[in-house]
């Protein structure tokens, strides 16, 4: 057993008197030389636990020992801490940030040169040493944040969601960097909402709503659903219908679309059903598949939602026109000398799910806002449901439902008042409004929150309310900007059940996400990287391009980003 650098037991923390427990009896141990994952959706208590270990918050109950002393009194020069927004001074340069943290953490002056050299080499920031931290890209800021945490080799390294929102290449580089720089003396605590990152940790603590659901090697949780995962290969156009039927079938606990196949998790002890029982053609092939950490998590939470979307059941059928539902032609947006989106073109036909994939800051939301008429393009044109955004902005907006990234409803109005407002804003008359509100309240289980301020609801319910407000007027086109960011996998499944159901009714969906695996639900995907579209195609076609067996969307994206970077370098050289 390796040395324990930090341990906590029975941690309880409540922020609001008589409110919910942010942490409820959590235990965690971080051992030297090992990667400990702290995994869970937003609001699970990850940041609170990390702050407790950093000695920034004192728990209401429980013992915390860091480097052999109580956390509040530990030797902080031996703790490397990278908070969620990296803790960088944006108006200081790269080297000034490093110097500040070196001084604060008491790095001996004679070691400074060597330490800086090594970190700048590793992070590839040497060229930018004199650049202001605020002028770095997201991926570079993240690396600088890590360098500041490691400027004096700590014994405990606390990383609070270091990889959120950055591109998969940077994520992978960061992971390798932590492994290499930390070596076998440092205990690393890596918190993340990405469940695939958890699989790579030596040991994992899985938090949900302040409680610890699993502690131990990630494999143990993954193994608990061994032999229960199958893939059902069906014709591409049938996969959504098959998924719906399969999820409603007996013995199926959870399922998702994966490219041209449907991936299912069976209930414990359930016999493998026939293809026909799952609603697929009888000759459809069924293959066992490898379980993932996420499957284990969903199993712990009691399985995913049923396959039929009550929202879609009541939705009007959208007539299929000949016009493309969404069309972007050379959309470009420049802010000063910064190009946020460059020459983005695509066309989405009726009843199609089209995904925009890319890291934060790549230009997804900018493209989105141009198509909603919220931003005027610097060049190019767009049309929604046949309405050109230049001449018929209002008509175009009326025919789309928009769910913004982040919670953008009125937090200090009640849920009911928000619904009333949006029903009015979309021009529903009194009776329509009443019916629509009753329906979404039932579908999204909002009944118990109706009188509460929308801002005080848990994240999952906020996202549900946002979607509810976007679909009340039954628009033919839906724009969803990061609808599932930060929510737990059950809520994610529920969202996709609704989306799949609506698409079957003929609704066209444009969705952005930085969860690569969610791209699998889309009919077609466009990868956006550094404001350019670097590839468009079906998920399976893109994965095939990655050139390796059983490639994930993430592999595909990494291959494409590397090709794009090589291309740019080639251009620079020429």
């Amino acid at each position: 057993m390796a040395d324990t650098v930090a341990s906590a037991s029975g941690i309880c923390k409540r922020f609001v008197k008589d409110g919910a427990l942010a942490l409820d009896g959590v235990d965690i141990t971080v051992a030297a030389g090992r990667m400990t994952g702290l995994v869970g959706p937003d609001g699970a208590g990850k940041t609170t636990l990390i702050r407790i270990l950093a000695g920034l918050i004192v728990p209401d109950d429980g013992d915390v020992t860091v480097l052999g002393r109580p956390a509040i009194d530990s030797d902080r020069s031996m703790i490397g801490y990278m908070p969620q927004r990296f803790g960088l001074y944006e108006d200081l340069s790269v080297i000034q940030n490093l110097t500040l943290y070196a001084d604060l953490r008491g790095l001996p002056v004679e070691e400074r040169e060597e330490s800086f050299g090594r970190l700048l080499d590793f992070t590839d920031l040497k060229r930018f040493a004199d650049r202001l931290a605020g002028k770095l890209s997201g991926g570079m800021k993240q690396k600088l944040g890590l360098a500041c945490a490691l400027v004096r080799t700590p014994r405990l390294l606390l990383l609070d969601e270091p990889s959120v929102g950055v591109d998969p290449v940077s994520r992978r580089e960061l992971w390798d960097m932590v492994k290499a720089l930390a070596g076998d003396q440092v205990g690393v605590l890596w918190s993340t909402a990405y469940l695939d990152e958890a699989e790579q940790c030596d040991t994992v603590t899985l938090l949900s709503e302040g409680k610890c659901l699993h502690a131990g090697p990630p494999q143990a949780l993954t193994d608990s659903v061994e032999d229960r995962i199958i893939r059902l290969f069906v014709p591409e156009e049938a996969r959504r219908k098959v998924l719906r039927k399969a999820l409603d079938a007996d013995g199926v606990e959870d399922g998702a679309v994966q490219g041209a196949s449907v991936r299912l998790m069976l209930e414990k002890g359930a016999r493998r059903p026939t293809a026909a029982a799952l609603g697929a053609p009888e000759d459809a092939e069924i293959r066992p598949a490898r379980p993932r950490f996420e499957d284990g998590f969903i199993d712990l939470l009691g399985g995913g939602p049923p396959g039929t979307s009550a929202l879609a059941e009541h939705y009007r059928a959208i007539p299929r026109g000949d016009m493309p539902a969404i069309e972007a032609k050379g959309l470009t947006k420049r802010f000063g000398d910064f190009t946020a989106a460059s020459d983005i073109s695509f066309s989405v036909s009726n009843g199609e799910v089209f995904g925009l994939l890319g890291p934060n800051g790549a230009g997804k939301s900018t493209t989105f806002k141009m198509l909603c008429g919220l931003l005027t393009p610097s060049a190019g044109t767009g049309a929604v449901a046949g309405f050109d955004l230049r001449h018929a902005k209002a008509d175009a907006r009326q025919s789309l439902g928009y769910m913004a990234q982040k919670f953008s409803l009125y937090g200090d109005l009640s849920v009911r008042q928000n619904l009333d407002f949006f029903a009015g804003a979309y021009g529903l008359d009194r009776r329509e409004a009443r019916d629509a509100i009753d329906r979404v309240v039932e579908v999204f289980h909002l009944g118990r929150y109706l009188k509460d301020n929308a801002g005080t609801m848990p994240l999952g319910f906020k996202q549900r309310l946002s979607l509810a407000c976007a679909v009340m007027h039954e628009p033919p086109v839906l724009f969803l900007d990061e609808p599932t960011s930060g929510v737990d996998p059950i809520v994610r499944r529920e969202f996709w059940t609704h989306i799949n159901g609506l698409v079957e009714k003929g609704v066209t969906v444009l969705v952005t996400t930085h969860f690569m695996d969610e791209a699998e639900y889309c009919d077609r995907v466009m990868l956006i990287y550094r404001s350019r579209a670097i590839a468009t195609g079906t998920p399976d076609a893109l994965k095939a391009g990655a050139g390796k067996e059983d490639a994930t969307m993430e592999d595909a994206f990494i291959t494409l980003i590397e090709a794009s970077r090589a291309n740019e370098n080639g251009r620079d050289a020429a």
Binding site: R51, R76, S77, F86, D91, L104, G106, L158
Partner: protein, 374 residues
């Protein structure tokens, strides 16, 4: 944060703070541009001295005395007079705001005057009380001096047995900029000490850097010192700029010594910075911090310090409140050092009061910080 004071960590924080000040245009704006703006505003724009005021004069008596008094009003350097017989047009003018008061010389005034009496009526616009008070007292003044002159002409002893000959010390011309400019310096130091300090610490919370430096061995003492010292120097710097402008541009005399001015200003910056720290310890949000700073530092400094409104003329309970406003102890010594000269006997109690407030605020701020981090 841990205890103890490490010079290297402190120096690193100081260097960081200085770099940020240099690089951040908004700091420069609040520390230098705004003070200069304020000084010019108070120096030129706000003027509590009166020029000629428009009034109406209704002379309803045709006697010689009435005509003579009307002439006295016409020639007064305080009034621009619009004279009529009937009062009605003047009433309309008063309502329309064209005149600020009406003096009525009633029918029978000359007869009464001959008998040694003679009342006039003054109607003023109570919706602007300052002007109303001015019109009333100056109108009475005109009448009184007319009566005195008339009595002298007739060889009678002056009607008021005691004549008041006012002589204003320290500010002989009663130019309001002489006391407004030192007051503006107080406002400027309040802005830098409380508002700017609260803002920059709230900014560290908002940008997430506070969390990162709190997780280092940085001690509370080092942190506070690294925030206080740069903004103390900035406060003194902009006080100096204001003083130089006051002397050079507005001809405000500095009769006391620069040393006394420096000591007084420094003593005031201590509670101002303490309040800034206290505000930032209670909010992590720049917007809220600026609101609280306005309400707790800026407005009391403006209204309750004796800068714009004299404390002795306030209601008793408001006077009681002013004792809790640190700026109240700054204005008198500041005005004294400008207008009169060094008088340490007067300065020291005020300086002691300001330092007392400083101690209180710093203690509270350190406590609040410790509780939140812990």
């Amino acid at each position: 944060m841990s205890a103890g004071f490490d010079r290297r960590r402190f120096r690193a924080m100081l260097v960081k703070e200085a770099r940020q000040i240099v690089r951040d245009p908004s700091t420069f704006l609040i520390a230098f541009v705004l003070p200069i703006l304020l000084i010019f505003l108070f120096g030129f724009g706000v003027n509590l001295d009166t020029a000629r005021t428009d009034i109406g004069l209704s002379r309803q008596d045709d006697g010689a005395a009435a005509r003579a008094l009307a002439g006295a009003f016409q020639h007064s350097r305080w009034f621009a007079v619009r004279q009529t017989g009937a009062i009605e047009p003047l009433e309309n003018a008063l309502v329309a705001g064209e005149v600020h008061g009406i003096v009525v010389i009633p029918n029978g005034f000359s007869r009464e005057a001959a008998a040694g009496g003679g009342d006039i009526q003054v109607i003023t616009d109570g919706s602007s009380p300052n002007t109303a008070g001015f019109v009333a007292s100056y109108a009475d003044g005109v009448r009184a001096s007319w009566a005195a002159a008339r009595a002298a002409e007739r060889g009678q002893p002056a009607a008021p047995p005691i004549a008041l000959v006012p002589r204003f010390w320290f500010n002989p011309a009663l130019a309001s900029r002489y006391f407004l400019v030192p007051g503006a310096i107080a406002i400027v130091m309040t802005m830098i000490g409380s508002l700017l300090t609260a803002l920059i610490i709230a900014r560290e919370w908002e940008r997430g850097t506070m969390e990162a430096i709190m997780a280092t061995p940085l001690g509370m003492g080092e942190f506070i010192a690294s925030k206080v010292i740069p903004y103390f120097l900035l406060g003194i710097g902009s006080m100096t700029v204001c003083t130089l402008i006051a002397i050079a541009v507005f001809g405000v005399p500095l009769r006391g010594s620069p040393l006394a001015l420096l000591v007084i200003a420094s003593a005031f910056l201590i509670p101002a910075l303490g309040l800034g720290l206290l505000i930032s310890a209670t909010t992590k949000n720049q917007f809220v911090a600026s609101q609280i700073a306005l309400l707790t530092a800026f407005l009391p400094g403006m209204l309750l310090s004796g800068f714009l409104f004299e404390i002795p003329s306030m209601p008793r309970w408001v006077q009681a409140i002013t004792y809790a406003v640190p700026a109240r102890y700054l204005i008198p010594p500041l005005q004294t050092v400008f207008a009169a000269g060094d008088n340490w006997g007067l300065f020291l109690p005020d300086i002691a009061a300001m330092l007392g407030f400083g101690l209180l605020f710093f203690t509270l701020a350190i406590r609040a910080n410790r509780r939140r981090i812990a």
